[in-house]
Subunit: 444 residues, 2 copies
């Protein structure tokens, strides 16, 4: 049964057929279906699911949807679903719901669970502490393999991952990690201290989640251990959370490069006016910068009044400057984000980009000269445009290539060097250079 | 010992101190160090590592570096490292090295290993077949839990992951998956068929790697099973490969949005001229489109000769159009990539974006009117600019919001709607609208 048909059944409230149809989908498909339905219909369809499946689907929904369902549920039903969540997901949800709902939900938890959830909420957004789960398997360094396996069997049902276990000393400081694989393969009498991986790579609760993702990626970890300042293990960030973090961080970088402020997550959830507010700040700042470009042009009334055709090439020149600059910035910003480029190599990279810009300028200059000739434009003006193009292209790669490093130097996220920002800066450089060259070459 | 000091030791060839210093780093840090050193120095430092550590470091290097080392090694040393690689990494490496080196390396493998590697190489780039590993734990559906655990113990040493095992029928068709966790917790006498997850989500060998990543993310899988057209399991794509795929795909999307063609991976590996070639195509196409803008302006010599100041606002207007359009395109492109936005909702989203553009235009128009007044510009011109701004802003969100959908409709990757592309298209709309409004409002 396809989802289109199911959507119709939801809308027409054909309960019997619907109930059977829903059961044939898996939890991910069901979550997608609910997210695409009207809130009230989603609630109705969710109620038709058998309890086990409903729990899996609930897990797959995004926090906004979960919050919507919980608000509509009776206390006992809300308690059931809220209790079944992992502590890290629970913290994320509480962050999303209105304070009143959060207070209602927190009451459903046992004292220790409430404590764990509130602790996670105490860490700053986008840090390891906020995304970690306190549910991990801890082992004592004096245990044998047999004792460890017994403990894992006992704890397994409630822990998020059991494939990596953490070996602690008497003061709960992290000594090493051990994979379930190695426990299964080892002699039951062996002491953990003899087969564990000592002093594993760890992060602190305040480490940025992007750094956590990088470590899991570089070390091929299943989970990254999170310690407090005294090296006591307080949680782990598992691979599935890292996969989500990576998508979130990529979205953030892409938004910044497109000059979209903040996260527009939940595209349909935000009101038009709040979207406008988030976008208008950057736009107006860029317009203010652009008045410089306008003033430069306004100051050239003499030559422009004489040779009006010069105005026709302004968009081409400043446009190309912006495009060339965006390309350089794209490569450098992404390189810095993935770690392929390090700030130490800034000089080498900027020099290289300048060289690329110069060659690009010559190639484009020759092409444009030919093109202008074909179109029958004045030869003098074509020369001015080509010469300007070489200069603009070099300045653009220099600007686009160096700005991310300069931002990084001043501890500003290099991803804030957006395409619109580069474009606007290149507008200024472009018109200044253009009229400089024009005034030099065109004696009138 | 910090890496800066080690780099110096590498350069001065202080072998003894260096050997001890290197041993103190972990494999990831060592791989970073080697990648930042000159090729010959990297080779020298690599030779100083103890064999075990060297193997781990080799695993961490990127294919270009691995290839460089293998080419310099003696046969027996090259054989040792090449044999120790996972089949999927081996295929990636063979793709990178010159044909001559590939032939030499393939000779080092046993017939069955060579076969497995060549099979992977036969699948198209960026498909599940290319990134999967054929090393997985397969179990027979008639086995008991005890028999399964015994088989896993026997196979575990050589398999990439043992935490998910795959249950097959007599014809090697995939029946279900089972987690090591569930095996460890189950009664040893239980039949696998009773506790496995039946009919798991699978992908085909030709499925795009981006789709594979999405499935692992949505289902929180440790690995995605890959089947041939007859539902026979041929490989799995593990979580660590998906983490790499996600980074690669995000880079691709970001590059496209910045109008950087192809992958500039291995930034320092490519020559300046090949970088220029890859960037110049887009730039020249955009310049060609931009000549339309030039022609529009050239056709307005009459009004421009009269009111030269009009030229001063061209960059501001077309710049804002490009910026507003980029913002809309950013949100829609990313939404399509993550699946938050589906093509089915195109009309709703485009309408919404147009609304946002109109409101943005009014806000910006009023701000600019005030700004122009403060700067003492002519009131008539300021009115023309503000009115144009409202129109441009609306057209920009319409364009930026709908182009990704139109591209998708024609089966072109929406990520090809780059910021420079939007900017250039908006240049044309911008000047046309500007002179239309100017000619209408300014009677002269």
């Amino acid at each position: 049964m396809d989802t289109e048909l199911l959507k119709e059944l939801i809308e027409t409230k054909e309960f019997k057929v619907l109930r059977n149809g829903l059961k044939k989908l898996d939890s991910v498909a069901l979550a997608d279906l609910l997210e695409e339905s009207e809130p009230d219909n989603a609630l109705m369809a969710f109620r038709l699911l058998p309890k086990d499946l409903a729990m899996q689907v609930f897990d797959q929904l995004d926090p906004a949807q979960q919050s919507h369902l919980l608000e509509a549920f009776t206390d006992s039903r809300a308690k059931f679903f809220f209790e079944s969540m992992q502590p890290d997901d629970r913290a994320e949800l509480l962050d999303e719901v209105p304070a009143k709902v959060a207070r209602r939900l927190l009451k459903f938890l046992s004292t220790s669970e409430r404590q764990a959830t509130l602790t996670l909420l105490g860490y700053e957004d986008n840090t390891a502490g906020r995304v970690m789960t306190p549910d991990f398997i801890d082992l004592d360094h004096r245990m044998t393999v047999e004792e460890a396996l017994e403990r894992i069997r006992k704890l397994a049902v409630e822990k998020e991952t059991i494939y990596v276990a953490y070996v602690m000393d008497n003061e709960r400081k992290l000594l090493g990690t051990i994979h379930l694989k190695d426990l299964v393969l080892a002699n039951p009498e062996t002491r953990l201290a003899d087969i564990m991986t000592s002093a594993p790579k760890t992060v602190f609760t305040y480490t940025d989640q992007e750094e956590v993702a990088k470590i899991l990626k570089d070390y091929d970890f299943l989970a990254v251990p999170v310690v407090d300042t005294e090296n006591r293990l307080v949680g782990i960030v598992t691979w599935d959370d890292v996969v989500d973090i990576m998508e979130e961080e990529a979205t953030e970088d892409i938004y910044r490069f497109g000059a979209v402020t903040g996260d527009e997550k939940g595209y349909f959830a935000s009101r038009i006016f709040s979207v406008v507010r988030r976008r208008v700040v950057w736009l107006f700042l860029l317009i203010l910068v652009n008045t410089v470009t306008g003033s430069v042009i306004a100051g050239q009334e003499a030559i422009l009044g004489e040779i009006v055709i010069l105005a026709a090439f302004i968009p081409l020149l400043i446009g190309t400057g912006g495009n060339v600059g965006s390309q350089s910035a794209t490569v450098v910003i992404r390189g810095l984000a993935t770690g392929e480029i390090t700030p130490k190599r800034a000089v080498a990279i900027i020099t290289r980009e300048a060289g690329i810009g110069f060659v690009l300028g010559i190639v484009l200059g020759i092409l444009v000269l030919g093109w202008a000739y074909l179109l029958g434009r004045s030869f003098e003006v074509a020369i001015v445009v080509s010469a300007t193009l070489i200069g603009i292209s070099t300045i653009a790669t220099l600007t686009g290539g160096s700005l991310p490093f300069i931002f990084r130097l001043f501890k500003v996220d290099p991803a804030l060097v957006s395409a619109p920002f580069i474009t606007t800066v290149m507008d200024i450089f472009g018109v200044i250079l253009y009229f400089l060259v024009a005034n030099m070459l065109l004696s009138f």
